[in-house]
């Protein structure tokens, strides 16, 4: 990685973190768990990295298998996370 691209990534990190800090305020207690679950699903974004890691053509490569394991794990996180959050929020509406 060049110093220039590292600095750009660092800018992205700092600004996105600031947005993250400002996004959450005065959340009603009933939403604590859904918010935790929903943002947990977002942290499954690592699925993008897992897909890239799977993109190795050699089946004898350890990296390929690590990538595929990561993809299964990340998919559980993403799909399960969103589905569980939606199930929770659906119950709220019925009340």
């Amino acid at each position: 990685m060049t110093a220039e691209s590292f600095i750009i990534l660092l800018y992205i990190l700092v600004l996105a973190s600031y947005v993250g800090f400002e996004l959450i305020n005065k959340v009603p207690p009933t939403l604590h768990t859904p918010l935790m679950s929903g943002s947990n699903a977002i942290s499954g974004i690592t699925i993008v990295g897992a897909i890239i890691a799977c993109n190795v053509l050699n089946y004898g490569a350890i990296s390929k298998w690590l990538g595929m394991i990561a993809l299964i794990l990340a998919t559980i996180n993403v799909v399960g996370g969103y589905a569980l959050t939606d199930r929770m929020l659906k119950m709220f509406k019925k009340k």
């Binding site: 959340v27 947990n40 993008v48 559980i76």
Partner: protein
Amino acid sequence: MNILIQIAYLAASILFIIGIKMLGRTSTARKGNFLSSLGMFIAIFATVIQVEAITLVDILICVIIGSALGLFIAFKVQMTKVPEMVALFNGFGGLASLTVALADFWLNTQEKGLQVDQITGISVAISILIGGVTFTGSLIAYLKLNGKVSGKAITFTGQHLINLLLLIAAVGVSVFALTDFSNPTFMIALAILSLVIGVLVVIPIGGADMPVVISLLNSYSGMAACATGFVLNNNVLIVAGALVGASGIILTQIMCKAMNRSLINVLLGGFGQTSGSG
């Protein structure tokens, strides 16, 4: 780098921000979750179209297995057991970040014989450390809420000292790993150390404090994804990871306040067992 893919990643990032914002209000929460999942779909789609056609089958198989397991857990679980399932999902996310970082490191240094630069090396080490702690920490939180591990605070003398020494050891092996990338032993040692640290930091915390711990570990998994973004030079991983990492810390503080506890108190452990739940 394809401009359309980058625009798709930008769109996904915006949807994540709007999604988290809307999840904080009762009237918009469900729509917020939908928008965030739409963002995730866009990010995944933009990534899948860049891969080699042959690997598409592998990817599809992994995604089908993961989706089936994820949906099965999400729909089967009783609503009272939601926090422990969030912990479990979160643990998988942490392990995925560790594995992706290790896969990329292995591909470059062992299989391609390339020399990676120090920034990438440090990012790999951070991904492994935070991802590993998130995985076993979340697993212990899951087992505690489940009753398979005692919900009581498990403490022993010298606990904090041992944790500190392990953390120093983790930093030590990272430094060794950075001096010689051709030798993967140190990165593997770091992975094992981080898994042990994850167990030891959560085990002294009582079951009643677990929701706070899960929220904090959720924030960690965001940071792990963010570090993986630095490994892969990928913007959307950094944005989404940083959003979850930062908003997770704020949410953790809010939850602490709601329970009349201080975060330091929770993390030092040994207090939460009196409340009885868990």
